[in-house]
């Protein structure tokens, strides 16, 4: 691979310096904020900056995309590659748009336009990914699934597939794809000749245990036979077969979707590392991962009286993840707070979710609390209190006596999650 000569790449130096200045200015205005602004500045001044830097990695670029599971899969793949000694550049999952990505690159880029890492693993949502894909040449693209998701922007699954196709078509070596997703199977069947397709998926037994399937818009008729396959998933323990070796993997949190994400990451790591891939090391690495964001994260926070309280955070971002997470709740769970915020434009979208397992919600919160309360109440979930204000709701919830069974559990969408973390002084 030829690397861009310094003379060529240095043309971005002024833009890089300006972007950094914008970053400093943004931070001065709003501490901790303004993460997309510097990228915006650079993209405006030097639109070629992003593709140019992303072409400069010795071992190439990997793009992870799909409707859900992107963040977890990306984090797992990065950890696997790092465990195998690779230096990886990745984007923070909150910055999966081109401005955010350029901002993240600015943090690390040298003035000659290169980054001190062997390869880049980037999470991209299908919309922005498809927009910048024509200017990228990823070595490998990972496709997680197609869910009827993000109604505001894409509406139906066909449009999601069309966007994913734009990204997958750019793969130069291989596409790692979910073999249980019928729409992805149709997509990979039409990839250009010469691009390898590696599949991951679950066994027939694992699929049969999911009362509502795995959340894909359409599930393939048959299970993957060649590839990386989840053979069993119980609580936080999964058995994943990788290249003929059955591995016992401890997942970062409960739920078969984490097992599928781990299978995706392992299939991608194996594809990238070839002979160097060490299955045992991979299993150990996954076991040491902290949960991505808040999904299933158990943490100890200060209670209203200053005492320590253990809570479980469950982040739900679409109906499929809401359903999977509700199904994974312990039966008879005692204390649950559910919150929906301004990130959900159309709460009606969540009505197909069967929420009855929640049983009783101590508090319903967030700016969309009343709409969420309607959904819960019509399915017979008891509601003790409605408190749209997150800090007030969180304080009242933490002040409840120790739960009779299970942990205090907070199920929230992205906006109340950020407000909760900010209120509790947790890193986000």
């Amino acid at each position: 691979m030829t690397r861009a000569g310094g003379g060529v790449a240095l043309r971005y130096a002024p833009a890089i310096l300006l972007g950094r200045a914008a970053r400093v200015a943004a931070r001065l205005r709003k501490p901790g904020g303004g993460s997309a602004v510097p990228g915006l500045v650079v993209n405006r001044i030097a639109p070629g900056f992003l593709p140019s830097v992303l072409r400069g990695f010795r071992d190439g670029l990997v793009v992870v995309t799909g409707s859900s599971g992107k963040s977890t899969t990306t984090k797992m793949l990065v950890a696997l590659l790092e465990a195998h000694g690779r230096r990886v550049f990745t984007n923070p999952s909150t910055a999966n748009i081109s401005q955010g990505l350029s901002s993240a690159l600015l943090e690390r880029v040298r003035l000659n336009g290169t980054i001190d890492a062997d390869l880049a693993v980037l999470e991209m949502d299908e919309g922005h990914g498809a927009l910048i894909a024509p200017r990228l040449s990823p070595r490998l693209v990972v496709l997680t699934n197609v869910m009827t998701d993000q109604i505001d922007r894409f509406f139906d699954s066909e449009r999601v597939v069309a966007l994913l196709r734009k990204i997958a078509d750019r793969a130069t070596e291989a596409v790692v794809s979910n073999g249980d997703d019928a729409m992805l199977e149709e997509l990979v069947a039409e990839l250009p000749a010469g691009v390898r397709v590696e599949r991951f998926g679950v066994s027939a037994g694992v699929l049969a245990e999911q009362p509502r399937g795995l959340g894909s818009t359409r599930t393939s008729a048959s299970r993957v036979s060649h590839g990386t396959r989840v053979e069993a998933a119980r609580g936080r323990t999964a058995t994943i077969e990788v290249g003929g070796t059955a591995l016992t993997v401890t997942l970062p949190a409960r739920g078969v979707h984490y097992a599928v994400d781990a299978a995706a990451a392992m299939a991608a790591a194996r594809e990238l590392l070839g002979e160097a891939f060490d299955p045992e090391l991979a299993a150990e690495t996954i076991a040491t991962l902290a949960p991505v964001f808040a999904r299933g994260e158990i943490t100890t926070v200060r209670g209203a009286q200053g005492g320590a309280v253990e809570v479980e955070f469950v982040l739900v971002q679409n109906p499929a993840s809401f359903q999977l997470n509700v199904d994974a709740l312990d039966a008879g769970i005692d204390q649950v707070l559910v919150a929906m915020g301004s990130d959900v434009r159309d709460p009606g979208y969540f009505w197909p979710v069967d929420v009855r397992r929640i049983g009783r919600a101590r508090i319903v919160s967030g700016s969309k609390a009343s709409e969420l309360a309607l959904l819960l109440a019509y399915q017979g979930v008891e509601i003790d209190a409605l408190e749209p204000d997150i800090p007030t709701a969180i304080d009242a919830f933490l002040a409840l006596p120790e739960p009779a069974s299970g942990l205090k559990t907070i199920i929230f969408t992205a906006d109340p999650m950020r407000r909760t973390r900010a209120h509790l002084g947790l890193r986000s």
Partner: protein, 241 residues
């Protein structure tokens, strides 16, 4: 026990529209009326006994031909039931297929014939309509979410479901269609939960004086609905009604 029919919940619940049948069933139960919430599946035969109420939700566009094929066997029964005064709520593509038809593109061949319960036809909008939709209908001011690429041409204003206050609906002026006991609308999702006045009108049409909306449960849930509507209207800077 009277049935509340929920059509093809696997295909017609993309936006939670099919759950309006749950809303009707729960409100009837809270009023002390025994009802069966019955999911109608493709290939089923229409029940011999007329149902208490019918809910037909919306599919994604690519499933329109399949949905039409599955509805064919119910077309006569649906027309008969509406003629007999059975309340029906149809949303999105379900509404469109019960009209005279759907103009998909500009070519004459891009037309899907409907079942003719509602007068008028669906045709493409200049741009996708996505956001809050507020309309004034006979029962009052109703609020919901719309997300569709086609509008609807009504033969006359009298056959529209209501007048648009905010959003697009049929054509930024009128919204949906009403014929006898049948309502067709672009309001996705749990429109009956958010606007209990509509649910109560349907249940009164179904059960007459036996139905009352003053149960403890309905009162509590309707306070959530009032708060949700209030928040949306306040955000749009609109009066409550």
């Amino acid at each position: 026990m009277r049935a509340i029919l929920q059509f093809f919940p696997q295909r017609l619940d993309v936006n939670g529209d099919a759950q309006n049948a749950l809303v009707l069933a729960q409100r009837a139960r809270w009023a002390g009326i025994d009802v069966d919430l019955v999911a109608v599946l493709p290939g089923d035969r229409p029940p011999a006994e007329a149902p208490a109420a019918i809910v037909i939700g919306s599919s994604v566009d690519s499933e329109l031909p399949a949905l039409r094929a599955e509805l064919v066997g119910f077309a006569t029964a649906l027309s008969d039931w509406v003629a007999a005064g059975v309340p029906l709520l149809a949303v999105g593509t379900g509404f469109e297929l019960l009209s005279h038809g759907i103009q998909l593109g500009t070519a004459a061949a891009d037309f899907i014939e409907g079942f003719g319960v509602f007068p008028g036809r669906a045709q493409p909008l200049p741009a996708r309509a996505s956001g809050e939709l507020v309309a004034d209908v006979r029962e009052g001011r109703i609020v919901g979410f719309e997300n569709h690429a086609r509008g609807f041409v009504v033969p006359d204003d009298a056959s529209a479901f209501g007048a648009v206050v905010r959003g697009t609906g049929n054509d930024s002026r009128s919204e949906g269609s009403r014929t006898g006991s049948a309502i067709g609308t672009h309001l996705h999702g749990p429109v009956l939960a958010k606007n209990p006045v509509l649910a109560d009108a349907m249940l009164t049409a179904a059960f007459g004086d036996r139905y009352g909306a003053d149960s403890h449960e309905a009162t509590r849930v309707d306070s959530f609905a009032a708060a949700a509507r209030g928040a949306i209207l306040a955000q749009l800077d609109l009066p409550i009604g």
